[in-house]
C-alpha cells in the first residue's frame, strides 16, 4: 500500500518536472488497489459534467438527487460549464461539507483509502487553451499505475496515473470531497475544516455545522477555534452553560482570543455576574483595539451595561472565575 502510494506520488512530482517518458514500475507486494465500487454514476449530457460529478459525490453520501435536478443549481448555459465555487456552494445547500483537499496526490489517495470519492477538476487542454472537465476519482490501482474514475459518459474509466496526474496538474490539482455532518477528511487541516464548517453554518445549515464542530473538538482538542465554534453551536441549542465552559476552554488555550472573551462576558452578564462581565469585556476591549472585532466588542459593552439594569445580580459565589 505504502509503496504504491510512493510510486503514484513520485510520478506526480516527476510529471510536474516534465519527465513524461517515465515508465511505470510495479509497486511490489501488498494491497495496492482501492475502488469505491458503490459510488453511483450519472452519465453527463452535453457539457454538463459539473452537475453529473456533483450528483455522484452527493448521492454517494446519501443525498437523494440526480444530475438533472442539479443542473439549475450549478450549470451556467452561457459558459457551458460550472464554476468551482458553485459546486462547493451547492454541496453546502445539500447539508454536506465540501472539503477542498491538499493539492497533492498523497491527499487524494488518503481520501480514497478512507472511502471518500474525490470530485476533481481536470484540464485536457493546455494552460493557455484549457479544456476543463469535472470527474470523480473512485479508486486507484497502484500496481498497474492507474486511477479509476466516473467520468463523462464512462461509468468506469481507467486512466494511466501519468495521464490523470498531468490533467489534474494543469487544473492546479483542485478537488474536493463531500462530507456528512460530523465526518472528518482523512487528511484534515484543522483551520481549513473549521472554515468549511463555518461556511456551512452561514448557508443556513447550523445543525449540520454543529455536528462538524463537535467532530472538530474531538479531533483537535488543542485548537481554540474548534472550541469557539463548538461553543456557538451550544448557544444555538440553548445551552449557555455548556457554551460558557467551551469559551473558557478557548481562553485557556488562547488568552488573547477576543471573540471568546467577548461572548463569555455577555453570557456572564446574562446570568447576573455583572462585575465579572464588565471586567472581561474591558479586557476584550483593550485587546481588540484597532483590530477587526473592535466594533462588536463595543456593542457588547453597551449590551452588558444595559443588562446590569435589567438582570438581577447573581450571588457572588456563582460568579467566581480566574483566568
Amino acid at each position: 500500500m505504502r509503496s504504491a502510494r510512493l510510486v503514484l506520488a513520485s510520478l506526480a512530482l516527476l510529471g510536474a518536472a516534465g519527465c513524461s517518458d517515465l515508465s511505470l514500475r510495479p509497486a511490489g507486494a501488498g494491497a495496492t488497489r482501492v475502488e469505491l465500487v458503490d459510488t453511483p454514476f450519472f452519465p453527463q449530457e452535453q457539457y454538463q459534467c459539473g452537475p453529473a460529478a456533483l450528483a455522484t459525490v452527493l448521492v454517494a453520501t446519501g443525498i437523494a438527487t440526480d444530475a438533472d435536478a442539479l443542473v439549475p443549481e450549478v450549470y451556467l448555459p452561457a459558459r457551458k460549464g460550472s464554476l468551482q465555487a458553485e459546486l462547493l456552494a451547492a454541496t453546502r445547500r445539500h447539508a454536506r461539507l465540501p472539503y477542498v483537499i491538499d493539492r497533492d496526490p498523497a491527499a487524494l489517495l488518503a481520501e480514497l483509502d478512507a472511502g471518500h470519492p474525490v470530485l476533481v477538476l481536470q484540464n485536457f487542454g493546455s494552460r493557455g487553451h484549457p479544456v476543463w472537465h469535472y470527474a470523480v476519482v473512485i479508486g486507484y490501482e497502484g500496481d498497474r499505475g492507474r486511477f479509476i474514475l466516473r467520468s463523462g459518459t464512462t461509468r468506469r474509466q481507467e486512466l494511466a496515473a501519468r495521464r490523470f496526474l498531468a490533467t489534474w496538474q494543469r487544473a492546479d490539482r483542485w478537488g474536493f470531497i463531500a462530507l456528512r455532518p460530523g465526518e472528518l477528511p482523512a487528511h484534515a487541516d484543522a483551520a481549513r475544516y473549521l472554515r468549511a464548517a463555518s461556511d456551512l453554518e452561514a448557508t443556513a445549515q447550523p445543525q449540520a455545522a454543529a455536528r462538524s464542530y463537535a467532530a472538530a473538538v474531538a479531533r483537535w482538542p488543542e485548537q481554540p477555534l474548534a472550541w469557539f465554534a463548538f461553543a456557538g453551536a451550544r448557544l444555538d441549542e440553548g445551552q449557555p452553560g455548556a457554551a460558557e465552559d467551551a469559551y473558557r476552554r478557548v481562553l485557556a488555550l488562547d488568552p488573547l482570543h477576543v471573540a471568546a472573551r467577548n461572548n463569555l462576558a455577555l453570557l456572564l452578564a446574562k446570568r447576573g455576574c455583572h462585575d465579572l462581565a464588565s471586567q472581561e469585556i474591558e479586557r476584550a476591549r483593550a485587546e481588540a483595539a484597532g483590530r477587526p472585532l473592535a466594533d462588536e466588542v463595543a456593542a457588547s459593552m453597551q449590551e452588558i451595561a444595559a443588562l446590569r439594569t435589567t438582570v438581577r445580580a447573581a450571588p457572588p459565589a456563582q460568579c467566581v472565575w480566574q483566568n
Binding site: 493557455g128 483551520a191 473549521l194 472554515r195 464548517a197 463555518s198 461556511d199 453554518e201 452561514a202 443556513a204 447550523p206 455545522a209 477555534l225 469557539f228 465554534a229 456557538g232 448557544l235 444555538d236 440553548g238 471573540a259 467577548n262 461572548n263 455577555l266 446574562k270 483590530r291 477587526p292 472585532l293 462588536e296 466588542v297 463595543a298 456593542a299 457588547s300 459593552m301 453597551q302 449590551e303 452588558i304
Partner: protein, 132 residues
C-alpha cells in the same frame, strides 16, 4: 391582496428566524464563527502581504527584478492585488526558502523567480511567455 402579502412576509420572516435560531442574533455583540473566520483570514492575509512586500523591498531583490525588466513598485502593487490564496502560497514558499538578513545570490534569485512565476502565471506580466 395586501393582507396576503403581509401574511406571506410574516411567514417568511418567522420561518427564517426558526431556521437560523434566535439565541445569538438576539444579543448585541455576540460574535459568531463567520466573523471570527473572516477576522482571522484578514489577519493572515495582512501577515502574508507584509512578508511578500518586505521581500520585494529588499535592494538586492529590486535590482534583480529590474534585470528582468520589472518595475519593483509595479510588482509590489500587483502582489497586493493577489487573492488571499495566491498570496498565502507565495508567502509560504518564501518562508520555506532559505531566509535570513544576508540572503545569498541564489536566494535572491529564488524570491524574484517566485514572484515572477506567480505574477506571470496569473497573466499579469509576461516575462516567461513569448507570444500569445
Amino acid at each position: 391582496m395586501t393582507r396576503t402579502l403581509v401574511r406571506s412576509i410574516l411567514t417568511l420572516t418567522l420561518g427564517a428566524m426558526v431556521m437560523v435560531g434566535v439565541p445569538r442574533g438576539a444579543w448585541a455583540g455576540m460574535i459568531g464563527m463567520p466573523a471570527v473566520v473572516a477576522a482571522e483570514a484578514d489577519a493572515a492575509r495582512a501577515a502574508d502581504l507584509a512578508l511578500v512586500q518586505s521581500q520585494l523591498a529588499r535592494a538586492d531583490v529590486q535590482k534583480q527584478l529590474q534585470v528582468f525588466g520589472v518595475d519593483p513598485a509595479d510588482a509590489a502593487a500587483r502582489a497586493a492585488s493577489l487573492s488571499s490564496t495566491e498570496l498565502a502560497e507565495l508567502a509560504q514558499r518564501m518562508r520555506d526558502a532559505p531566509a535570513g538578513g544576508d540572503m545569498g545570490f541564489l536566494a535572491v534569485i529564488g524570491v524574484v523567480f517566485l514572484v515572477l512565476l506567480l505574477l506571470d502565471y496569473l497573466n499579469v506580466i509576461h516575462v516567461f511567455r513569448s507570444h500569445k
